[in-house]
Symmetry: C2
Subunit: 424 residues, 2 copies
């Protein structure tokens, strides 16, 4: 590849083109609060996928959908060569912000557009280029999250993923088929991967840095828990006889926050985001509550101590609330490093573009966490105003957004050259 | 009315006939755990209503459905005379017991059958007789509870009740129409009312008493509460920044139990039976939780103190959990007495039948609470084994069940004679 895509003359036009396309994407599934609701394989998700394939084809890419609904936009400079993949996800949480995932796909699409325009086919890079919209990264309608990239990287069998059902009993296969996006095959063969995302935290904003060079993901453990009690009449049953599953679950939610507070310095994040009550009638003491517990830390020792506190707390709650609590670990991982050579490459690119950068952790999961296990991977962040995410108020300044696209373009160009080949 | 319905010769046959019909009713909407699920205006509720009308017609009654879906089985001895109503409700909570409500309708139907057989038309009682299945006493699918009797007694406008929607947006009118039970008119004119129910508490069983003579209902206050927070990413948002609506709601559930425990002697019952989380995704800090709080006591001063503790606690939780909590009183009543003459009448009947009896409170709501405000009303209890209710394990011994039918038959006979006329 002979030219850098970043030249002073085209910078303003590139930024304008990106912001125009991103605005049209943000209008899809827009909520009254100016966020988006594009849960996986819904009508709004389908619309965003059509936004992606239409623009990609307009920019000279060929598109295809694999067996789990990942959408690829392919640019083949060298027949038969593997692909550098760049992208993120277009699905969202309910009443979500417009940047989470969508920014990464739009940025990759524009990086691809610019590389398509500036690459001399007679001096083609080593690898071809594919922009990707991973299916169901959010995992709110269909669990688990990062479903598309988990299947792509062989961590989750496709058949198992396709059989997952939502709350209405609709399978992933049915939902994808209904929006015309149940494809086939396993997608292009990857040589490297790049993804850019909003930070969803405050560290870049607080330090006045434009680019986060993601070096590792926090360690995490997630549990599903079921609290078992006994149905009773809320009015007539004597308190001492009650086995109130919701009381037990409430103690558990409070306990998780107390455990976070037990470690000074905000080194542990804990939460319960999902909780369902049965039978959920105003006059029936609940017999069963299902919930999901999430504990994360950059320090594996802190996480181990937190897990111990949780076990002890659960035993205490079972006694005090007269319930039984079943827990099952649904996910657990230690601190997960990205290839250090990828961090170095991204730092070099940022320096070339005169963008400030700093190494950062990711606290959230991303499809790049799957991809880094099969190919050299670069993960980039831009700042989130006030660290707000999974919220309609999610915001990143246009300058940061456009700087990120510039950087991603440069990173992808180097990955296509093979600059990360062999990175461990 | 010239004869008592209770004669030694027919006692066994009456008991067998009742138990046979009650078994056929219990099979409708039966759950795997041998309880029932017959929520209002569902297919199972429709089946139980057909069970009622078919048997009633077989026993010589004419049936009709009023504008809010109350089913009446009418026996007109004296054209134009008002009716003694006797009954309860056939709808249930999800995974409920088979006695709650259903026993009262079946018992009233058999009391009616026996009175129809033993009454000499040439010596007809003062009042006619109507057995009633009140629509939607439970209020789990459609709020509020006691809907049918509230409309019948003029406490709830029919139009308002018919417009109430369930979680799927189906109105009461649509649901009743779908099962062919959207009737018309306002039902028969009442002269008196009698209802029998399982106690749903332990007091009769603990004292070895067969019949509870309900003299009053506990005072109660119910609130709907909404806890407002802010959506955030469960992984990346700093704990100090979070406004976790579920944490606030959990503190509230725990607070309610603490308030109950603050009053020794089990004089206060508190609970949260219903709680819904938004957006309820594993990786989103909840922005909103809606719940229903229920506080009940026989002592109005205790209830007033509890309400004060609740107000103070809510202010504390708002601070500690960084949320705001909106509450609205949805129901509130003081201790509600039944007519003392009705208690005396029921005690006399029990004595005549050599059944032990004791005056008791009802802690749960019943349709009789509405009816006592418009006509003299008798409310009777039979024991609940272990006080278990709103639970598939709900159980009352056959002897107690049959004794209750005998007693109700005697009470209704006297009400038809006009023995409670003028009771205040």
């Amino acid at each position: 590849m002979s030219t850098s895509s970043i030249t002073t003359g085209t910078a303003t036009a590139d930024a304008e083109a990106f912001l125009r396309d991103f605005r049209s994407l943000s209008a899809i599934g827009e909520t009254p609060g100016h966020g988006v609701d594009r849960q996986a394989a819904t009508a709004a998700d389908a619309q965003s996928r059509t936004w992606f394939t239409s623009l990609a084809e307009q920019y000279g890419f060929r598109t295809e959908v694999d067996r789990i609904g990942n959408v690829f936009a392919l640019l083949e400079w060298t027949p038969g060569a593997p692909y550098v993949l760049a992208g993120s996800h277009l699905d969202s949480q309910p009443t979500a912000g417009k940047y989470d995932g969508a920014y990464g796909v739009a940025a990759a699409l524009h990086a691809g557009r610019r590389l398509a325009e500036t690459t001399n086919p007679d001096d083609a890079p080593k690898y071809n280029l594919a922009i990707v919209d991973w299916f169901n990264e959010e995992g709110c309608r269909f669990a688990p999250s990062m479903m598309g990239s988990s299947v792509y990287t062989g961590k989750l069998p496709a058949g198992e993923a396709l059989a997952v059902t939502d709350n209405h009993g609709i399978t992933v296969a049915e939902a994808l088929d209904a929006i015309g996006h149940l494809g086939s095959g396993t997608g292009p063969r990857a040589a490297a991967y790049a993804e850019i995302h909003i930070e969803q935290g405050r560290s870049l904003e607080d330090s006045g840095t434009t680019i986060g060079l993601v070096h590792s993901c926090w360690a995490a453990v997630k549990y599903t828990a079921t609290v078992h009690g006994e149905q009773a009449h809320t009015g007539s049953a004597v308190i001492a006889d009650r086995k109130d599953a919701l009381l037990g679950a409430s103690h558990l939610v409070v306990l998780l926050r107390e455990i976070a507070n037990a470690f000074p310095g905000a080194v542990l994040h804990t939460s319960v985001g999902q909780l369902s009550v049965y039978p959920n009638s105003p006059v029936v003491v609940p017999s069963r509550v299902d919930l999901v517990m999430d504990l994360r830390s950059a320090d594996e020792d802190v996480l181990a101590s937190a897990r111990q506190l949780l076990r002890e707390g659960i035993a205490r709650i079972e006694q005090e609330a007269n319930v039984t609590i079943e827990t099952a670990e649904s996910h657990a991982w230690g601190v997960l490093p990205y290839q250090p050579a990828g961090v170095d490459l991204a730092r070099d690119c940022a320096q070339k573009l005169e963008l400030t950068s700093a190494p950062v952790f990711t606290l959230a999961g991303h499809d790049s966490i799957n991809m880094k296990d099969i190919v050299p991977t670069v993960m980039l962040f831009v700042p989130s105003v006030d660290g707000i995410s999974h919220n309609e108020k999610e915001y990143t300044h246009d300058d940061d957004v456009c700087a990120g696209v510039d950087l991603l373009t440069e990173v992808v160009a180097r990955l296509c050259r093979g600059d990360l080949d062999g990175a461990q």
